[in-house]
């Protein structure tokens, strides 16, 4: 289960401000797609349109087409809540629910939606999701401790466990390792590679090595000047982007000669 995402002439607005302009790309299932580019070019904005989190911000909206397995997720008849159940998201800063235990955090996707499940099902699901997030061994003895009692890297993996527990088809990660140490980062990178067996993974990163290590496809965005919209400059296989980019701007950026 995994989805092919197609964006065509997608424009993303904050009120009257056009933040991202005219995006056309296809995100393949069972692969990792990395978004790279300078700060402010609209990577977070674009990734948040993939699960309709963008419109949570007052005044924000999207124009253009975005389909998942051929279905237009922005058609008026589509409930954004349903989209978000299919498309999980991990944020830059770990944000476990502070009132919940580790286990409750993992199951929060069900519990918050008032879905009842038996205790044995819940236990099994929590174990499966925590194993999926490579966190099980570290927390199996303290599932009833608060989620905030974990280290930052563990909290981030807890958030990943929470996202995969609801069995989405797509996982979005917005700079998931930018606040983490190299060991936690490596754990999450390994995890991302495992996750692509089952999910479509999209990851935003400022770390070129990370993009080249784990992603199959890389999209490079940039922005001509502040106040202007961000644009997709080049989108290709990761090895092409890093070893033999077609655009001069991409080459400057990946080789560190940007700006």
């Amino acid at each position: 289960m995994s989805m092919r995402i197609e964006l065509s002439s997608l424009n993303v607005y904050y009120g009257s401000f056009l933040a991202v302009e005219d995006i056309n790309m296809v995100i393949e299932p069972n692969s990792i797609t990395a978004f790279i580019g300078p700060s402010g070019c609209g990577k977070s904005t674009l990734i948040r349109t993939l699960n309709r989190m963008h419109e949570v911000i007052p005044g924000a909206y999207v124009k253009g087409n975005l389909t998942m397995n051929g279905e237009d997720i922005y058609s008026p008849s589509v409930d954004p809540v349903k989209v978000r159940r299919q498309v999980g998201m991990v944020f830059q800063r770990p944000n476990p629910f502070p009132t919940m235990t580790i286990k409750e955090n993992v199951l929060s996707g069900y519990r918050l939606n008032n879905n009842k499940m038996s205790k044995s099902d819940a236990d099994a699901l929590a174990e499966k999701a925590l194993k999926g997030a490579n966190l099980w061994n570290e927390v199996k003895d303290r599932l009833d401790r608060p989620g905030s009692s974990l280290s930052g890297g563990q909290q981030q993996r807890l958030c990943i466990a929470r996202a995969i527990a609801v069995e989405p088809e797509v996982i979005l990660m917005d700079e998931p390792t930018s606040a983490l140490d190299p060991i936690s980062t490596a754990a999450i990178e390994d995890l991302a590679i495992e996750l692509k067996e089952k999910f479509t993974v999209v990851i935003v990163t400022h770390n070129m090595q990370q993009a080249s290590r784990i992603s199959d496809m890389t999209a490079f965005f940039t922005i001509a000047d502040t106040g202007l919209p961000g644009k997709l400059i080049e989108y290709d296989r990761t090895d092409n982007i890093f070893s033999n980019p077609k655009e001069k701007q991409t080459e400057d950026y990946v080789s560190g000669r940007f700006g």
Binding site: R85, P96, T99
Partner: protein
């Protein structure tokens, strides 16, 4: 730069010797004592030494002496530090002394009638000694309880509207009226409730529930403000985390935002209760005065503790002291109720606050 000058730079000046503070204090007290007794002996009207004046002069002398000593020995920066410490401590003492004195006075004078009778008898057919505030305690608990039942849901839901949903003109209007309501004098709230009940039940109406409504008018804005502040400090990331899991907005509000803010909201509600439980004026108007116990807030007059204290003091009977004693004990019981509520609020916020 030589090593010597480095040491000088970082070592700083000498500090005050340990014995200085206690010695200064002893000297200050002694000096203040002798000055005051000299003044007292020169004034034939003063029968005894005014201990408060002694303490005041001693503290001021001590502070000045301590500051000067520090200025001379330790230099300007440290002495400024000490001066500010003295000022801050002084301000704290100034705020706390009246409070302690008040609490002490109430306990001391209220102790006389703090007995079983006070909690089990009403004032029905009591003239002079005896009797109790059973009717007033019942009335205060019922009326405050009802006011809380009315105010808390309205207040919390309004705050949720303002923080989570409100945009544009309507939200601004609500915020404006909440601000206006915060400033309503309690007597006006009482008159409002009375006027509203007169329209329905005719003139001369007295009802406990009227008092509850008057108190709600005072309580609702306090609950709204407190809840609003608590909801605002719930990080937006938690809402986003919940939305991203496909949780609809209303469930996010009820199951993520409210629980996270619950401890603060509970404290706010308790503060709001403490604020209204001592209200006298509106209850005097609408709940009225009675000597007997009335359990039914929807029928006839109901006594409350503040009104009990007020009337006991204002209409002293032939044996005046017994009335005054009852007034003090009434005040003491009111204070204890507020204290118990505060302890409950502490426990609630300790139990519910986010762990970790």
């Amino acid at each position: 730069m030589t090593t010597a000058s480095v040491t000088q730079n970082f070592q700083g000046s000498r500090s005050l010797p340990k014995w200085l503070a206690p010695t200064l204090l002893a000297v200050a007290i002694l000096a203040s004592f002798s000055i005051n007794s000299a003044l007292a002996s020169s004034n034939p009207e003063a029968t005894q030494l005014n201990l408060f004046a002694v303490a005041l002069v001693a503290v001021i002398t001590y502070s000045i002496g301590f500051y000067l000593a520090s200025r001379i020995i330790e230099g300007q920066r440290k002495s400024a530090d000490r001066l500010v410490t003295i000022l801050v401590t002084g301000a704290f003492a100034l705020a706390v002394v009246p409070l302690i004195s008040l609490a002490w006075t109430v306990v001391e004078r209220g102790a006389a009638r703090f007995d079983i009778d006070f909690f089990t008898f009403s004032m029905r057919n009591v003239v002079g000694a005896g009797g109790g505030a059973y009717h007033a305690i019942i009335g205060t608990l019922e009326i405050t309880g009802l006011a809380t039942l009315i105010s808390v849901p309205i207040g919390i839901m309004t705050a949720i509207y303002l923080v989570e949903y409100g945009r544009g003109a309507l939200a601004r209007a609500v915020t404006f009226f909440v601000d206006v309501m915060t400033g309503i004098p309690s007597i006006v709230a009482g008159l409002f409730a009375y006027a509203a009940f007169v329209v329905i039940f005719g003139p001369g109406v007295r009802m406990g529930v009227g008092g509850a409504i008057a108190l709600s008018v005072l309580m609702i804005p306090v609950v709204i403000r407190a809840t609003e502040e608590m909801l605002k400090i719930v990080p937006n990331e938690l809402r986003e985390a919940s939305y991203a899991l496909g949780v609809p907005k209303w469930l996010t509000v009820t199951k993520v935002v409210l629980p996270t803010a619950l401890a603060g909201i509970a404290t706010g509600v308790m503060i709001a209760i403490a604020r209204i439980i001592g209200e006298t004026a509106p209850l005097l108007i609408i709940a009225g005065f009675t000597a007997s116990t009335n359990f039914n807030p929807f029928d006839e007059r109901m006594m409350t503790l503040p009104v009990f204290v007020y009337t006991s003091y204002a209409n002293q009977g032939s044996d005046a002291q017994t009335y005054i004693d009852r007034a003090w004990t009434g005040a003491l019981v009111l204070m204890l109720i507020v204290m118990i509520l505060n302890i409950i609020a502490r426990l609630v916020s300790k139990y519910f606050s986010p762990k970790g």
